[in-house]
Amino acid sequence: MSSREINIVTPKQDAAIAPRFNLILGDNPSTANLRRYLSGIPKVDAVGLEQRAAALSTRSIKSTSKLKSLDKIIELIDLTTLEGADTPGKIRSLAAKAIRPDPSDPSTPHVAAVCVYGDMVPYAVDSLRYFNKMRDGNSIKIAAVATAFPSGRASLNAKIVDTTEAVAAGADEIDMVIDRGAFLSGHFDQVFDQIASIKAACRRPDSTYACLKVILETGELNTYDNVREASWLAILAGADFIKTSTGKVSPAATLPMTLLMLEAVRDWYQLTGERIGVKPAGGIRNSKEAIRYLVTVAETVGEEWLQPHLFRFGASSLLNDVLLQRQKMKTGHYSGSNYVTID
């Protein structure tokens, strides 16, 4: 354990998130208060939600729109490797791919971020340093999963250390997991406090914050009602992004779940004027599917959400399919897996 002092912050003390819950809950995010508030949020009808998602899936995106979508998808990808077998070499390879996804076509945009385990952050920083220096403002972000990813089963102290170390090492973004056990057993305050504490741990010495993505692990929360409540809970506790899944639990991201979370951020925007990001992660493997997500975002929260600071795809194999489609659109014929690089 780090010798640094572990500072468990209550939301009240933290200026970054105080306005959010004060607005909604006064100054007392107790379970009773949270439960009362969350239970007042309109419920979800599963059949209707899935019907809507299916209807959005029938949009037909052709020619110029398709080419535009493919580039957009690349710009929104968090290129991810989250394996026990990850090595510095693997991270370097991933970073190179993030910079230049298609070596045969320099017009290909770079991805939004690389997403790695916390201990791999220094290697990612190292690999991206030169590229990011050259592109002021339009850099490839480094996202680190933290808080005992993917299960989240560790003490709060361990989670905070996990986070502060990643931030200190240069992570721009923290992908944390919520304590699903606490949520399912009804301890909303515990979930809330953990998110708020991790938010506080995202604070850098210069008082800026690493972007906090809160993973709900929708496959474990199981019901749409749970996911909607968890989305609001995460937003209230300070999330900058709400993210569907770790990718380690099946089912991972689904279109109805993502639609539901988009509706939550839309409603939050209506209420406060503040835009929260959404990140579906895991299970989105091909362009066709990813385009459905773009359509869903554009038609639910609006096109302004299709920007890296408001929408991301957590994916690894998606990128190569997009590149193949892109090559096909440009050249008129399909190539094959040997014409895109493995990372």
């Binding site: 009808d45 209707g48 939600l49 019907q51 037909s60 995106i61 052709k62 110029t64 509706e263 038609e299």
Partner: protein, 510 residues
């Protein structure tokens, strides 16, 4: 260009092999009618599609006698299993030709291709499959052993779901052993004529289904023909009344499926985003040309403003335009006459003091179009809350208690459909019990299934279509019929081919 300006994705018309002219389909053949031919046009471009024959009195007579002959000598003598085989064959052919039928339907009617492709045509096939299954099980229809068909059914259908209404009418009639003379609407005859081709493909015995085209006069001649045993009509309440008058005092059986002013009741605990979808689906599906449309939104006062805001922003994402484009949500109004009616009723709503809001849609220069429109501040006495508009126009009323919601929902001369949106199961049951509407949807709207009966209360008509109940409109209970069971030509083999041969032989003998 923004991402949301999706590039055009039109379904190709090249799949259609249309003839420039279509005759009447009588006794298994296309023959020209003796009335004045007319054009069917595309309501989205006003381009002519084909020239259609018009049936006059003489043609109607020929069609009815063909149906009579075929009834007496072929169709009523086949056993149920064989009738079922023909229906299964039709159903499969519809599936095979579904893309073509969807394109024809959208072109001729103006509805978006995504609806004809995903709703209309799959339901048409489902209807034939469903009643094909009933054909040899009529003993279990609840009418006692060996229920009998009526004979010749005269069927007149509307333009809003041309092929689907044809299926609703023809499938149960044939399953029950009746033969049919059907008249599609004069603005949408195309898919009925393609259906005639499917009948030829299915090797259907001649005269079992006859399709005659023409306007209101042809329909009047058909339902008034003395040799018709059963009249089935879907359309406006005014015409339904006229038919009821004409048929009264005759031996003819009658079912009517008429207008509606469906109430969509949204309680404050409703799943709100899905309710918004349901409201959109309830009134803007098929440009609101739906007799069971949820044209009156009855919303609890406490969520009125929030719901209307959500509804407006959702409506702003609807895409109005070329019905053949796969991304079109709102197609064209079917005819200039209907467009005039919608415009007139909407203006009346404004004059009476309701607040009008229309989505900001770009209207194509040619064709007949009306933007999705909402009227708020509507009270029960306003004409937009009482008259069937049959267009993409929603009237919003409010309520304070469930009792008031029920009273307002029932306060209409119609009674076809209603919707209830609430998270509370017990409330769904309690409210549904009180609503005088033939169909009540809970947390959904405009969902159809062949196994579920559909029909109205009060001025919305009588009789049911779909399900076991739909059969009862085409069967009389097991009293002795015109022939004894032993006289029926029951094929010795289950082979459909043999059965068809037998039916043909019967025809020739006659």
């Amino acid at each position: 260009m923004t991402f949301l300006e999706y590039a055009p994705a039109p379904e190709s018309k090249a799949i259609l092999k249309l003839k420039p002219e279509y005759g009447l389909f009588i006794d298994g053949k296309f023959i020209s009618g003796h009335g004045k031919p007319f054009q069917t046009i595309s309501p989205s471009t006003e381009d002519p599609i084909a020239t259609i024959s018009c049936a006059n009195e003489q043609d109607v007579d020929v069609a009815v006698s063909a149906a009579r002959r075929s009834y007496e000598h072929i169709w009523s003598r086949l056993n149920g299993a064989v009738r079922g085989k023909y229906l299964f064959r039709i159903a499969r052919l519809i599936q095979e030709r579904s893309r073509e039928l969807a394109v024809a339907e959208s072109w001729d009617n103006g509805k978006p291709i995504k609806e004809s492709r995903d709703v209309d045509i799959p339901l048409v096939a489902a209807w034939f499959f469903y009643y094909a299954g009933w054909a040899d099980k009529l003993d279990y229809a609840g009418l006692g052993a060996d229920p009998q068909p009526f004979g010749v059914a005269a069927q007149v259908i509307p333009w809003n779901f041309p092929l689907l209404m044809l299926a609703w009418k023809i499938a149960p009639a044939l399953a029950a052993g009746n033969t049919v003379v059907l008249k599609p609407a004069e603005t949408t005859p195309l898919t009925a004529l393609l259906f005639a081709e499917i009948l030829e493909q299915a090797d259907m015995p001649p005269g079992v289904v006859n399709i005659i085209t023409g306007a209101g006069e042809t329909g009047r001649l058909l339902v008034n023909h003395p040799d018709v045993n059963k009249v089935a009509f879907t359309g406006s309440t005014a015409v339904g009344r006229e038919i009821a008058r004409a048929v009264s005092g005759t031996h003819k059986k009658l079912t009517l499926e008429l207008g509606g002013k469906g109430a969509n009741i949204v309680f404050e605990d409703a799943p709100i985003d899905q309710a918004v979808e349901g409201i959109v689906n309830g009134i803007f599906f098929n440009q609101g040309h739906v007799c069971c449309a949820g044209s009156r939104l009855i919303v609890q006062e406490s969520i009125h403003d929030d719901l209307i805001e959500r509804l407006k922003s959702r409506l702003s994402t609807l895409r109005l335009g070329d019905p053949l484009d796969k991304n079109t949500d709102i197609g064209a109004i079917n005819s200039p006459a209907q467009l005039e009616r919608i415009k007139a009723l909407s203006s009346a709503g404004e004059v009476e003091g309701a607040t009008r809001w229309s989505a900001d849609c770009v209207m194509p220069a040619k064709g007949f179009w009306f933007p999705p429109t909402i009227f708020t501040n509507v009270s029960t006495s306003h004409s937009v809350a009482r008259d069937e508009i049959f267009g993409p126009v929603l009237s919003v009323l409010t309520f304070r208690t469930p009792a008031e919601a029920i009273a307002k929902a029932n306060n209409t001369p119609y009674g076809l459909s209603a919707g209830i949106w609430t998270d509370k199961g017990s409330r769904i049951l309690a409210v549904a019990d009180e609503l005088r509407a033939g169909v009540v949807w809970a947390n959904t709207f405009n969902r159809f299934d062949p196994s579920s009966p559909f029909g109205g209360y009060k001025e919305s008509g009588y009789g049911r279509e779909g399900g076991r109940h739909g059969l009862l409109a085409y069967l009389k209970s097991g009293a002795p019929a015109t022939f004894k069971r032993s006289e029926k030509q029951v094929p010795t083999s289950a082979s459909p081919v043999k059965a068809i041969r037998r039916s043909r032989m019967t025809k020739r003998v006659v």
